[in-house]
């Protein structure tokens, strides 16, 4: 089995985000981390490889900083890692990202499974998985909380998807793009040996030219969606109105009166 896992490097979920006058977004001195949702995808790729054999390739579309995410993936146990980037990739939306990622995955040769996280915690679009699946012509199975069966020889997979109303059990023919969600596994920590292996690994960086994507198809030039303005939402009033009473019952009555006045009950 050849499993590809797509990862992104994002600001930490604790980071204080701000926008300066020119509209530039910054996250202060908070470090970039491996997108937390992608840890589940990496872990699942490793578990599947260990059970069914084969190897795992981590791939990330991103500038120099994306290397740190790839190193973490290798330190967790991925067999190889590829970064995709050149100046033309700057300013991507999902349309251009999915074109570039799909072509890069094709360049990797035969692929049985592509794993992605639910979403990247920066723009939080949840779109890369379904778009890449469509471009590759692979089955698209998002929100997967359990891989129930995988038959590598037959090329079939059965997964449970967590939807609003419950768990949907789906069987599909490989190759497939699987979007993992929290609860599918417990991502492992990186080991000392893993970190050492990661620091010695070679990380090829493919350009748009290497994967055969035209410059105008990538990055901002190839994007459909533009975001002319990013701003901080107006701050919430500040502190709650504290509701009190001499007894719990009186407090409850006061609160219920307020909620009735707000017309929310």
């Amino acid at each position: 089995m050849h499993i590809v896992v797509c990862i992104k490097h994002t600001p930490d979920s604790e980071a204080k985000m701000s926008v300066d006058e020119s509209g530039e977004v910054s996250w202060g001195d908070s470090p970039l981390i491996l997108n937390p949702w992608d840890e589940y995808a990496v872990e699942e790729a490793l578990l599947l490889r260990d059970e069914h054999g084969g190897n795992v390739t981590a791939i990330s579309l991103g500038p120099e900083g994306a290397l740190e995410g790839l190193k973490q993936a290798v330190a967790m146990g991925c067999d190889q890692a590829v970064r995709v980037w050149d100046g033309f990739c700057e300013g991507s939306d999902t349309l251009s990202t999915s074109r570039v990622l799909a072509r890069a995955i094709e360049k990797l040769g035969k692929v049985d499974l592509v794993l992605v996280g639910r979403s990247a915690i920066d723009a939080d679009t949840w779109q890369t998985g379904p778009s890449v699946a469509r471009r590759l012509g692979f089955a698209s199975l998002m929100y997967v909380i359990k891989i129930a069966e995988l038959d590598a020889d037959q090329g079939t997979i059965v997964v449970e998807r967590l939807l609003e109303q419950g768990r949907e059990v789906v069987s599909a023919r490989l190759p497939a793009v699987i979007g993992t969600t929290k609860g599918i596994n417990e991502p492992r920590y990186t080991s000392f040996m893993g970190i050492r292996k990661a620091s010695r690994m070679q990380y090829p960086c493919w350009s748009t030219d290497d994967i055969g994507v035209a410059a105008e198809e990538a990055g901002a030039a190839g994007a459909a969606v533009h975001w002319p303005r990013i701003f901080a939402p107006p701050p919430r009033g500040g502190t709650a109105e504290i509701v009190e009473g001499t007894t719990a019952e009186e407090t409850a009555r006061h609160l219920v009166a307020k909620l009735l006045a707000e017309k929310v009950i």
Binding site: S131, R134, E160, G166, A224, E241, K258
Partner: protein, 329 residues
């Protein structure tokens, strides 16, 4: 048809419509009226889906493209994208709206890849500005908002956040034509098959609930949820949980609200024994009214909440349930 027209996907599950789809039709109506166009609702489902077509009309659609086919009973990306992309190529609308349910958030980007266009996910506002449709959506876990536009590609696809827009009042007299369409794929072209469904117990779904009663570590253990469930029952509310509770194994992951769980935007969110960590806030800050019950007066949740009660949830929650129960005849 023209670029002033809007197409909306109407989602159904086991024959029941997703309420978010009616919200999306409401947005579509407003935009189409502003642009001087029409609203077409696309409805895919198994046999017996026709009744939903008239409902879509009541909610504001001018016409419905209906595909009633057992192959379409269950949502699957391949046949759904095939059908919708055919319908959209045919109609050539300027805008496609999809409710940002989980299925909607999977369908939108797949459709966008198929049509080589852009999809703006999880919009909380949509307005026409100088002739260009501008979508507002939360980014960086709602710490920032982005205004997004699709200047050139058509159709532009948007998924609308559940409960961020109000559905129109149903007009039972509204009617319009229903165009029957057929699925264009044979079963052997479709790579996936739904083989089973295991529903979530406990009724009200978190994502589209009007009221959510959520518990955090303050409930003290799995049994601590009991009073919260009682309160949820009198309110007809859904139950939610913080990650601390899910990690402790007191509630299944399905109930988790927050960055690594669900995003909810109910009219009323009652946080019981939840400290209000930033990752929890991400999943509930857009609720209309937030009530915090916490025994620590310094808990960050009081900075976010509209109303707060400082006290023990095991006193307050049962008292609330009692007071509310009196109101029910």
């Amino acid at each position: 048809m023209s670029h002033s027209d809007v197409v909306v996907w109407v989602e159904q599950f086991q024959g029941r419509p997703a309420s978010g789809s009616w919200e999306a039709i409401g947005v579509a109506r407003r935009l189409a009226d502003q642009m001087g166009g029409d609203v077409t609702a696309c409805l895919l489902g198994g046999n017996g889906s026709r009744g939903l077509a008239s409902k879509a009309m009541h909610q504001g659609a001018d016409r419905v493209c209906l595909a009633e086919d057992e192959q379409l009973r269950e949502f699957r990306v391949e046949p759904y994208v095939r059908f919708l992309s055919d319908a959209i190529r045919d109609a050539d609308p300027g805008v496609v709206l999809i409710s940002a349910t989980l299925r909607g958030r999977e369908l939108g980007p797949a459709l966008a890849a198929e049509l080589e266009t852009g999809c703006v996910a999880d919009c909380t506002a949509l307005a026409i500005d100088d002739g260009l449709l501008t979508a507002t959506r939360p980014v960086y876990a709602g710490k920032l908002l982005a205004e997004c536009v699709v200047p050139e590609h058509r159709p532009q696809i948007f998924t609308t956040r559940i409960r961020a827009f109000a559905a129109l009042e149903a007009e039972p007299d509204r009617d319009g034509p229903v165009h029957l369409m057929q699925s264009a794929l044979s079963e052997s072209d479709i790579k996936s098959q739904v083989v089973d469904f295991k529903p979530i117990e406990g009724g009200v779904g978190l994502a589209d609930a009007a009221i959510v009663v959520a518990g955090g570590r303050g409930v003290g253990g799995p049994e601590g949820f009991r009073p919260l469930r009682d309160l949820a029952d009198v309110l007809g509310a859904a139950v939610g949980a913080s990650r601390a509770i899910v990690d402790a194994g007191w509630m299944p992951y399905e109930y988790q609200v927050g960055q690594t769980g669900k995003t909810v935007s109910p009219d009323l969110y009652i946080a019981c024994g939840i400290s209000g960590a930033i990752q929890h806030q991400v999943g509930m800050r857009t609720s209309k009214v937030i009530v915090a019950l916490n025994r620590g007066a310094e808990a960050p949740v009081f900075k976010l909440a509209h109303y707060g009660i400082v006290g023990d949830l095991f006193d307050i929650v049962p008292a609330l349930t009692e007071v509310l129960r009196e109101r029910v005849p």
